[in-house]
């Protein structure tokens, strides 16, 4: 029986610990004011903002999932949970699947970020160059990234539907790639189907179990993970 209750999360956020404009506390405050029930902090190649974000989560009453974004030359992977400590510089196309599997084995959730974003030289690693083996190691896939209307999301959606039709157990996720204050118009959320207490571990478990959907800012569902474990 699925007793999950679905809550809106933003799973791809940056602060001034990398190239964001928010402090971690400002980010969490903005998320709470937006009505989100949780965020994942995914600063580029560092986890040093997580402690402040976790404190702010308690202050503002929302869930904070500690994390980071491996911002490699070849693609970006958000790693949620704060359990693994893999040096981002060691991740290459040749070993990305193994490194991702290692992070997942340690209890983290690994998500391919903006798989078809405009890449080099506009955004280095923005478009994934990781080989297909990565899809056996990942937990989730950003089917939509940034503005929902971005044309590159069409390619991500098409790839995601093909992968899941082929049996890959990837959760459908959204990532705003939130870098600072500004209008919320045009962005989405990830709905996480949480069983039990609303907390970080149960949020991660929702992703592992495919209890996810992507919704627009009005709450209209855009895509649902087509499998559940």
């Amino acid at each position: 029986m699925n007793d999950a209750v679905y809550y809106p999360f933003e799973l791809h956020c940056h602060t001034l610990h990398s190239d964001g404009a928010f402090t971690p506390r400002e980010l969490v405050k903005a998320a709470a004011e937006r009505g989100l029930r949780g965020i994942a902090l995914t600063d580029h190649n560092t986890a040093t903002g997580n402690a402040e974000a976790l404190r702010a989560g308690e202050e503002f009453g929302i869930v904070v999932i500690p994390g980071t974004e491996w911002t490699t030359f070849y693609g970006h992977i958000t790693v949620l949970g704060g359990r693994s400590d893999i040096d981002w510089r060691s991740v290459t196309p040749a070993n990305a699947a193994d490194k991702t599997a290692r992070a997942v084995a340690l209890g983290d959730v690994a998500v391919l970020a903006h798989p078809y974003r405009v890449g080099y030289p506009v955004c280095t690693g923005g478009r994934s160059e990781f080989p297909e083996e990565i899809f056996d190691a990942l937990t989730g896939y950003e089917v939509f990234s940034g503005l929902l209307s971005d044309p590159t999301n069409l390619r991500a959606r098409e790839e995601y539907l093909g992968l899941t039709a082929a049996g890959k157990k990837l959760s459908a996720l959204y990532g705003r790639d939130w870098h600072g204050p500004g209008s919320n118009n045009g962005y989405g959320v990830t709905m996480l189907g949480i069983s039990g207490t609303l907390n970080a571990e149960n949020a991660l478990e929702a992703i592992r179990r495919g209890r996810t959907a992507v919704a627009d800012g009005c709450g209209n569902t855009i895509i649902i993970t087509p499998w559940q474990a």
Binding site: D19, T46, T71, V118, Y120
Partner: protein, 148 residues
């Protein structure tokens, strides 16, 4: 006291490389300060628009034409080197930011955002420049490290 400085050149051949600049601390210190810079930041080449357009076309779905406005919004293109700090081969932290001139510090009790507080003990250290974008033929980069 300055313990390390280098002026170096980063070329297009260094793209997607992690360029390591090792140095040794001969004694313990309270605080390590690292300053770095690189230039130019903005790429002014005549092929900027064509390079950006090609990147858009690779990412866009078939039959969807990127608009000139969207492409021009990404100009000028930028060179991008990020800085990491290592102690005894272990990562102390990374500053993934876009400013081409910056200063960071670490000590046992405190560190700049992106870096973990780390005791500044004698031994092998290294600054690492990661070449995320090198559009010009060569960039000039400087690194200075002070221990106090």
């Amino acid at each position: 006291m300055r313990v390390f400085s280098v002026k170096t050149v980063v070329t297009r051949d260094d793209l997607r490389k992690h360029l390591k600049y090792p140095f040794r601390l001969d004694g313990d210190a309270e605080k390590l300060t690292v300053r770095y810079s690189y230039s130019p930041k903005k790429y002014e080449g005549a092929d900027s628009y064509a390079l950006a357009r090609a990147a858009f076309e690779e990412a866009y779905p078939e039959g969807v034409e990127p608009s000139r406005e969207d492409i021009e919004a990404e100009l000028p293109l930028n060179n991008h080197l990020t800085l990491s700090l290592e102690r005894e081969g272990a990562l102390v932290g990374t500053a993934h930011r876009h400013e081409p001139v910056a200063e960071y510090h670490v000590s046992a009790s405190d560190a700049s955002p992106g870096f973990s507080p780390t005791a500044v003990e004698k031994g092998e250290w290294a600054v690492v420049l990661s070449a995320h974008a090198v559009l010009d033929e060569k960039l000039t980069a400087t690194i200075e490290v002070e221990a106090e």
